[in-house]
Symmetry: C2
DNA sequence: ATTCTGTTTAACCGTTTGGTTAAATATAGC
DNA sequence: GCTATATTTAACCAAACGGTTAAACAGAAT
């Protein structure tokens, strides 16, 4: 009934790599096929056209972040704890799946006009989660009266750009420490951010 | 000797708009011509091919940031002052020339592989400027012992993503305050960042 | 008025690209 | 072996795209 089999994940991995490097318009369907080690027509047979390929890649990548955020929320009680865990979750996920930040930043640059409709709900819930975490911190008295919007984008902006420039930074700046682990990124940002938003300063 | 004349800036503006919205590969040369209200061949006559168009747009846009940074450096003495002025300079510039953050983030996403060779020096000097500002602050005792790399990308990452999502944010999150002025962005980020990096906390 | 030069355009061209299709190949059940 | 079904491929196609070119046009100088 089925001769060989062909892992669909291989196709999505190949597509993710191509989309991340070249963007949707720059990506070549033939190149994706080549990366996956199959013929172009196979892509259409197994997944669909270029847009469907992209949709699947984005949605799969988004899931990782959503799970990370959810786990961070569940495993923490106070707002500072939540904040630190969200930070770590995003950083770890960006490090594991390095292709996604690239795709996401490109979406941002294009006003998310090619972002899958199905994924927009996820984005919304992420934004409102961070926001409610901040207001919670302010209400419980641990946070200063900071701007949640600014914090949202300081976290994601910093992590995404840091993991994206992983290879590039050192070349541009000899003083740069070079590639950082997710833990290092998390610690550095957490250090600045917690001092920046806590009323009393982190105890530790 | 010259019949009509045709402002070259109009062409570069049109190109910047197209490149910002669609990226290099997504941009259509015909579309740029249409935006500029001229014929496609005119582009090649006056500026050059697609790559040259892009090169010019990026270099022109980069100049604005470089000037802003330089002015910030000149007009400030202490490290916290410098830090605040750089922040404000970048934010103002991003607000004035909204197309550039989009182009820059796309470059980031593609590992800056299409970034003009000529512009790389500017990037380098920007990075080392911020870095030396941080080390100066640490040495003069006003800054805590923070990670300069993290700060670099928290500043640019936050400002770029904030100005890029200007139209998008409110749609995704009803609690979002919507479009923010450069001053608002500057103040929000400065508030968090200065508390985050200063030893004593901002006096004000 | 004619010439000369800088400017603008319409039409065209070769290539690339996303997508299709018809044929080939492999596997399982009979 | 034969048939039915799932998989894979090579070849093909129309459309879109970047780029060119030859001709038209406009104004200044003579």
């Amino acid at each position: 009934m089925s001769p060989k089999k062909m892992d669909e994940q291989v196709i999505l991995d190949a597509a993710a790599g191509e989309f991340a490097q070249k963007g949707f318009d720059g990506a070549r369907v033939d190149a994706i096929a080549k990366r996956a080690g199959i013929n172009k027509a196979m892509l259409y047979y197994r997944v669909g056209d270029k847009e469907e390929l992209y949709r699947r890649v984005v949605l799969r990548g988004q899931m990782g972040f959503q799970n990370a955020i959810m786990k961070a929320m569940e495993s923490s009680i106070t707002a500072p704890e939540t904040m630190a865990n969200i930070l770590a979750g995003i950083a770890e996920n960006a490090a594991e799946n390095r292709l996604i930040p690239s795709i996401m930043l490109r979406e941002l640059a294009g006003n998310a006009k090619t972002f899958p409709e199905q994924g927009r709900e996820g984005l919304k819930s992420f934004l409102s989660t961070v926001r409610s975490m901040v207001t919670m911190g302010i209400e419980e008295g641990t946070f200063r009266d900071i701007d949640p919007t600014a914090l949202q984008f300081m976290v994601t902006g910093a992590i995404f750009t840091l993991s994206l420039t992983r290879e590039m930074r050192q070349e541009l700046n000899p003083d740069d420490p070079g590639p950082l682990s997710a833990e290092q990124i998390t610690e550095s940002i957490k250090d600045i951010l917690l001092h920046g938003i806590l009323k009393e300063g982190p105890e530790q």
